[in-house]
């Protein structure tokens, strides 16, 4: 089922929850809403579910405008962060509940619940109560309950954030493959960018109630359209630095108090568009420890991440984060030399925060 949000806004009193949101979601697509807490992503989801009434705008499922429809008439399934299982019912009772409300015949109920339980691998748990289940099992029950009524759209509200890291990893894959197999349109709210990047076909990044970008994971990572997205997507986060462009001996250069670097010619357009100060961004993996590198700095902090060491390096008065091979055994106070892969540099207008490099 296609979903179309147009000019969707939600105000709580004077507080703006979501403002003028426009979004087209294709049939069978997996879309993630990504953003920090309070950015309006859950509010948008609850408006789609029918729990909140939009202040303005329309929500269209397929060719129906659903603004005035009750949640029960929208044929959606939803999985919550807290799972929201009914503690006084057994697993079987939980999964049947939507069917009971739809007045599905008893035998049909039985058949569908068993099928859903089979799919989710919880057939042996049907007699238990939610309190007797592990977090992962509860999550599967919640998913089963959402799927059993064969919804047109599946809504997820941070469904994995209460699980431990390993379980989260396996559930990610399961949800994704299930969704692809059933071909249901899925909308998935999360604040975890790794989840969004690995699961979604497209990601809607939101901040302060506004849509920042709606693009594929690759596009968001490689060509972030705003400084917010550049900083939010990617871990460790992108390094930012206030610089100015300069022309010296016919080559383009980047200058700050502590740094002077040459730039490839493809940034000429960006430089021309800039007006004075510019924000320069570079991802940690694009700064390389290189004994012949043009920039010298000093290791300030070493944070071992296991596969990599995260180094905080001071260049002049600026700090840069970068990843290094643990075999180097870097230590605080080490003098190092760096080279920057300037082909992968990003530039943003410091006032509008829009990217200058990607038009």
């Amino acid at each position: 089922m296609e979903v179309e949000l147009s000019n969707l806004s939600k105000k709580f009193g004077d507080v703006v929850g979501v403002e003028a949101l426009d979004l087209d979601i294709h049939d069978g697509e997996f879309v993630a809403f990504l953003g920090p807490s309070g950015c309006g992503k859950t509010t948008t989801l609850l408006m789609m579910a029918g729990i909140y009434r939009p202040t303005t705008g329309t929500i269209r499922f397929g060719d129906r405008i659903v603004n005035q429809l009750q949640p029960r008439d929208r044929n959606i399934g939803m999985v919550f962060q807290s799972y929201a299982l009914y503690p006084h019912m057994t697993v079987f009772g939980n999964i049947t509940y939507p069917l009971k409300l739809k007045k599905v015949p008893r035998q049909e109920q039985q058949r569908r619940v068993e099928a859903a339980a089979e799919t989710m691998g919880i057939a042996h748990l049907l007699d238990r109560r939610p309190a007797q289940l592990s977090g992962g099992q509860q999550q599967r029950v919640a998913l089963g309950r959402a799927l059993v009524k064969e919804p047109d759209i599946l809504l997820f509200d941070e469904p994995l954030s209460n699980l431990d890291a390993r379980l989260r990893l396996t559930m990610r894959g399961e949800i994704r493959s299930l969704q692809k197999r059933l071909g249901i349109t899925a909308i998935y709210v999360t604040h975890d960018q790794v989840e969004a990047l690995t699961m979604a076909d497209r990601i809607a990044v939101m901040n302060l109630g506004r849509l920042q970008a709606f693009a594929t994971p690759d596009d968001l990572y490689e060509r972030p359209p705003t400084k917010f997205i550049a900083g939010f997507v990617g871990n460790p986060p992108m390094n930012f630095l206030d610089i100015e462009f300069a022309q010296e001996n016919g080559t383009l250069q980047l200058r700050s108090e502590s740094l002077e670097l040459g730039l490839p010619p493809e940034f000429a357009a960006a430089a021309a568009a800039a007006d004075g100060a510019v924000t320069f961004g570079i991802r940690p993996e694009d700064i390389i420890l290189d004994d012949n590198g043009p920039v010298s700095g000093e290791v300030f902090v070493v944070e071992p991440l296991g596969r990599d060491d995260l180094l905080d390096i001071i260049v002049g008065t600026e700090h840069f984060l970068l990843l290094a091979d643990p075999k180097r055994k870097s230590r605080a106070g080490d003098r190092v030399r760096l080279s920057f892969d300037m082909t992968r540099a990003h530039f943003f207008d410091p006032r509008s925060e829009l990217a200058l490099s990607w038009k």
Binding site: R72, I76, F80, Q81, S82, Y86, P87, L101, R145, K149
Partner: protein
Amino acid sequence: MAAAGALTNINTDSMSGRLLLALRNGLLAALAMALLAFVFHSLLRPVIGSALVEETLTITLSRLFLVLLPIAAYLAAGTAVRNMEERHKALILALVAVSAVYALVVGAQAFLGAGPFAPRPSLQFSARQTDEGILVEALEAGGAAEQAGLQPGDIVTAIRRDQVTLTELNRRVGLAEDDDPFRLRYIRNGEQDQLTVRAVLQSGVDYSAIVTGLVIALVIAALSIYWPGRTLPYILLAVSLLPMVVGYLWLIIATFSYRTRGILPLDGQGNIGGLTIENWGFLVGKDIAGLEFSIWQVTLNSFLLAVMMTAVVLLVSSMAGYALSRMSFAGRKFFLSFTLILHGFPAVTLLIPIFFILLNLGNLPLIGDLIGFNTLGGITLVMVAFDLPLGIWLMKGFFDHIPWDMERSALIDGASRWRVYREIVLPQIRPGLLALGIFAFIGGWNAFLIPQTYSIGAGTVNLPVFLNELIDETAPVDWNQVAAVGLFQLIPIFIFFVFAQEYLLNIYAGGTKGSS
């Protein structure tokens, strides 16, 4: 002024400084109590106009402060030195300080002629209690009794027609004022006669009182250092509960005996004994004097009232509580603050107008016979209404704690608000329903004032009202029978008390649970 300054800036590092601090605190406490006693005793009545103030009340309060005066003073003196490093030094200081405060208090009493130095009314003869009466042993020369003509060897038996013992005589004399006459009956040489002795105020010092006072002072000083310790709180708590415990004990003993003196059961001869289960005969159909119908009818009424009230309170307050907690609608804020105001409002002040409401409800067609004046339905509705502010507020609090997602999930699953309330939300607030249910049941089962006020017919009488009728009879009250019915009425209460203390403790704070 310099002295005052010295008193407020006491250097507490030195022993003498601490002693001074203890003395100061003790005296300040004594002064404060004396002032309060004085206000109640002498100032209040003239200021307000004596006819308007119940004298026994003010005098009692002033006495209370006089009794508290030394205790407060010693405690204040003792605790002032409590926080010293070394316990024994603190104890010595406290004892010294309290003795000094005591000396000052006694000195003040000597100066004012109060306490042990106060002149006491006396008939000026000494006597002892014998089997026949009060045997006069010696007379004070020229004293009141001698002047009246009493002689040693006389046996005083009564004041006017009241038989008295020596303690009773002493009590009456102690309460007398100067020159109050006492018409004593006495037996001299087998002849009965009477004469009038006029009480005189006799000065003298009650040394035993002074010594006793000093011992008490020193004990309090020691306690103030070692307080509260391990056992003292238990003792204090147990002693404070003693009246209740003894009272319930009497109730239980009385139901199993023919008659009681104090808490002792007595048989026909006045000896301890005479136990019986006859008082419980009403359970198996024995008539209770003054009751024209079966006790089971009354019990059934009580039970019906309690059950109906519980059911209606639970239903109505959970519905309203759910709407206030979970729904947005025009006027919600108004309803909420109105509920809160009602929660603080004393409904019992509305008994008079509700009488008229019930009279008029009774005139309604069809339902009038169910909910009007003098119907169980009407009484139930009034009691439900009185419990609603608490009930709604409590239910709302419980609903507030249910995760929103659970309800959203049910709505998305296809439930209506009514089904969400019934099938999803209500089952989750069972503890709240239980607490409010117990509260309502106890309220209905114990209901006295409202059934008493709004019923005149037999059909609506419940156990508490019936008990009151038994006590208010003009005929001599059979206290043991009353006790048995009372204990019978208390059985469900005791059951709730044993099994639901935690709920009771929470809900009898008005559901506030210390929030505020």
